[in-house]
């Protein structure tokens, strides 16, 4: 009954978020890099891209982009 995407956000630092739906369990393995274990079949939903279907357990990781000013990798955000 709301217009927000429902589910567990596996991109908490992103503006739009990426949400896991229909999964048995989602475990946060790494707070800093936002790595999650998604147990069982699930669906990854976001506002900015098409939805992805996962047919079994998978690991969600985050793209790292290189910042030429700091010479460091940082989490990509959208």
């Amino acid at each position: 009954m709301t217009n927000e995407i429902q589910g567990i956000n596996v991109a908490p630092s992103s503006t739009s978020g990426h949400y896991i739906q229909e999964s048995k369990k989602v475990i946060n393995l790494d707070n800093v890099n936002e790595t999650f274990l998604v147990v069982g079949k699930s669906k990854l939903v976001t506002k900015n891209h098409e939805s992805l279907s996962h047919n079994k357990t998978c690991l969600i990781t985050t793209q790292q982009v290189f910042n030429p000013l700091t010479r460091l990798y940082e989490k990509s955000k959208d």
Partner: protein
């Protein structure tokens, strides 16, 4: 029981007319122009009546931002320990001082002036002026202040109207009649005062405030849910089979939802975050399916099912259903914020501009043009392909003032992509090429030709799987970027990579991360924007599920070579 067989082509062909009906007047300002206060009040009252509440006071705002301010302002003003009220008082007092000075001083001076010649006047003024002024000020300050206060009070309030607080206050005063105001005051005060004593600190107060409000909202929402939504749903759904229901839902509901205000919610939240003073900082994300922009979606959705599949609904329920949605449609209410005694509604936008994908998009100005009562309550909505950007950034891009340095300093990839999309739409692709040409040199391009089965859900465009490595030097800093395109939206991205890379394939692969301990068991990689989903062989999957890896195993990352990455990459959106 209705099944997919009943979903005939004739019925399917009627879907567009239901969608058009739900959206009529939303984008072209029709509903804004047809806003009717009496109808709005009637619609609000009926919702409250269904829930067993008394008629609330209804205030009208020109946009959702203004409605948030108005609601918070009233709430704050009527609450005990109101910071806002004390601020108003202090502002009033300081203005009062200067008013007294001006009025009395000028009166005295004109009387004295008329009775003295200019030489004497100058001399006397030099000697007496300061003394006289300070005496008057001191004496009058205590004796006349209260009398003048009463006389000037109303004038001062109107003079404050260039400030948000007073604008809202005036608006409130003009909309409130005494009876309703005192009723509201009594109700809220008594509710709060009973629960809060003077010893409660502000933290506790705000916690109670939140609880109180959320209870009211949840009561409203759940009561209407129970009375209408759930009953209707169960009656309709019991007569449709599961397959038909899913198909109908995906065809109608998702289209409507995507076209409506999901995109606006986030912007509104941000704007209120950044602009509101602390005491007005509250975003009331409340939702009642019978009294906002989505009401027509629900109505048309149910009407489509009810009429086209000839579903029988209890007459009394159907009458209630028809009435509540008719009232919303005729009211011109875009959204509403509720409390037991107060309801602030917002009108629809005056105009909405979208692209062919129904995303909010305007390269010539605001994509959503709202009305506003005051400059400070403006809600300015700039969007490019459904992505909200600030007015400042929008203007910089369209006035060609954005530098390449500023572009690369932007940390949000979607914002960067929106800048490029705006440049491309406004000035053409050549402009985008020229924007980078003086600072970036194209080094290498890699094309990942995808199997057709992995193109489902993409644009099928020619940019899918095309990665180009650029290198350059900006302000004495070596930079390298890979240009790529989102397969599901064709948006262009420039992603930073280390400047040691010499080919696009390895460069883009270097952005993928996987725990080193799991690297050798990867079966497939899917990608959605900046998130990767990695699937492993059964041994690793089982160990992961059984929590057999150490924290260190799972947080020590590595990347893949270009060859390794593209061999495993399947779905990409």
């Amino acid at each position: 029981m209705k099944t997919l067989k009943d979903f005939t082509p004739e019925i399917q062909n009627k879907i567009p007319s239901y969608i058009n009906n739900a959206l009529q007047g939303v984008f072209d300002g029709g509903r804004y122009n047809n806003f009717n206060l009496n109808n709005a009040v009637e619609a609000v009252n009926y919702n409250y009546e269904i829930c067993g509440f008394k008629k609330p006071l209804v205030l009208v705002a020109e946009n959702p931002y203004e409605s948030q301010l108005l609601f918070n302002f009233v709430w704050e003003l009527l609450s005990p320990n109101s910071q806002l009220r004390s601020q108003l008082d202090s502002q009033l007092n300081s203005q009062l001082d200067s008013q007294i000075d001006i009025q009395l001083y000028s009166q005295l001076r004109s009387q004295i002036d008329s009775q003295l010649d200019s030489q004497l006047r100058s001399q006397l003024y030099r000697q007496l002026d300061n003394q006289l002024y300070s005496q008057l000020d001191r004496q009058l300050d205590s004796q006349l202040r209260s009398q003048l206060y009463r006389q000037i009070d109303s004038q001062l309030y109107s003079q404050l109207d260039n400030q948000l607080r007073n604008q809202l206050y005036s608006q409130l005063r003009s909309q409130l009649d005494n009876q309703l105001r005192s009723q509201l005051d009594r109700q809220i005060d008594s509710q709060l005062n009973k629960q809060l004593d003077s010893q409660l600190n502000s933290q506790l107060y705000s916690q109670l405030d939140r609880q109180l409000r959320s209870q009211i909202y949840s009561q409203l929402d759940s009561q209407i849910d129970i009375q209408l939504y759930d009953q209707l749903r169960s009656q309709l759904y019991s007569q449709l089979d599961n397959q038909l229901r899913n198909q109908l839902y995906s065809q109608i509901d998702s289209q409507l939802d995507r076209q409506l205000d999901r995109q606006l919610d986030r912007q509104l939240d941000r704007q209120i975050d950044s602009q509101l003073r602390s005491q007005l900082y509250k975003y009331n994300n409340q939702y009642l399916f019978t009294l906002n922009i989505y009401s027509d979606c629900y109505y048309n959705w149910y009407e489509f099912i009810r009429k086209e599949f000839n579903i029988k609904i209890d007459e009394e329920l159907n009458n209630k259903f028809q009435k509540i949605f008719k009232l919303q449609r005729e009211s011109g209410v875009y959204s509403a914020i509720f409390s037991e005694s107060l309801c602030v509604v917002s009108k629809y936008p005056q105009r909405v501009v979208r692209n062919n994908n129904f995303e909010l998009n305007n390269i010539n100005g605001e994509a959503v043009k709202w009305g506003y009562t005051n400059e400070l309550t403006k809600l300015e909505c700039y969007y490019v392909n459904g992505f909200n950007i600030t007015k400042e950034l929008f203007q910089k891009v369209v006035e060609q003032r954005l530098t390449i340095d500023e572009f690369f300093k932007e940390s949000n990839e979607e914002t960067k992509s929106s800048i490029l999309a705006l440049m491309e739409q406004k000035f053409g692709r050549e402009y985008v090429v020229d924007f980078f040409k003086s600072d970036l040199e194209e080094v290498d391009t890699y094309i990942d030709k995808k199997d057709d089965k992995y193109l489902e859900g993409t644009t099928n465009g020619m940019n899918i799987g095309v990665y180009t490595l650029f290198k350059g030097n900006i302000n004495n800093t070596e930079i390298s970027y890979v240009r790529c395109y989102c397969p599901s939206t064709d948006r262009m991205f420039y992603l930073g990579v280390e400047d040691t890379h010499t080919n696009a394939k390895d460069a883009i692969a270097s952005l993928y991360r996987v725990p080193l301990a799991l690297k050798n068991g990867i079966e497939a990689i899917y990608r959605q924007g900046e998130k990767f989903s990695t699937f492993f062989n059964n041994v690793i999957t089982k160990k992961l599920e059984q929590n057999e890896y150490s924290k260190e195993d799972l947080t020590t990352y590595t990347s893949l070579t270009g060859d390794e990455y593209f061999k495993l990459l399947k779905w990409e959106y």
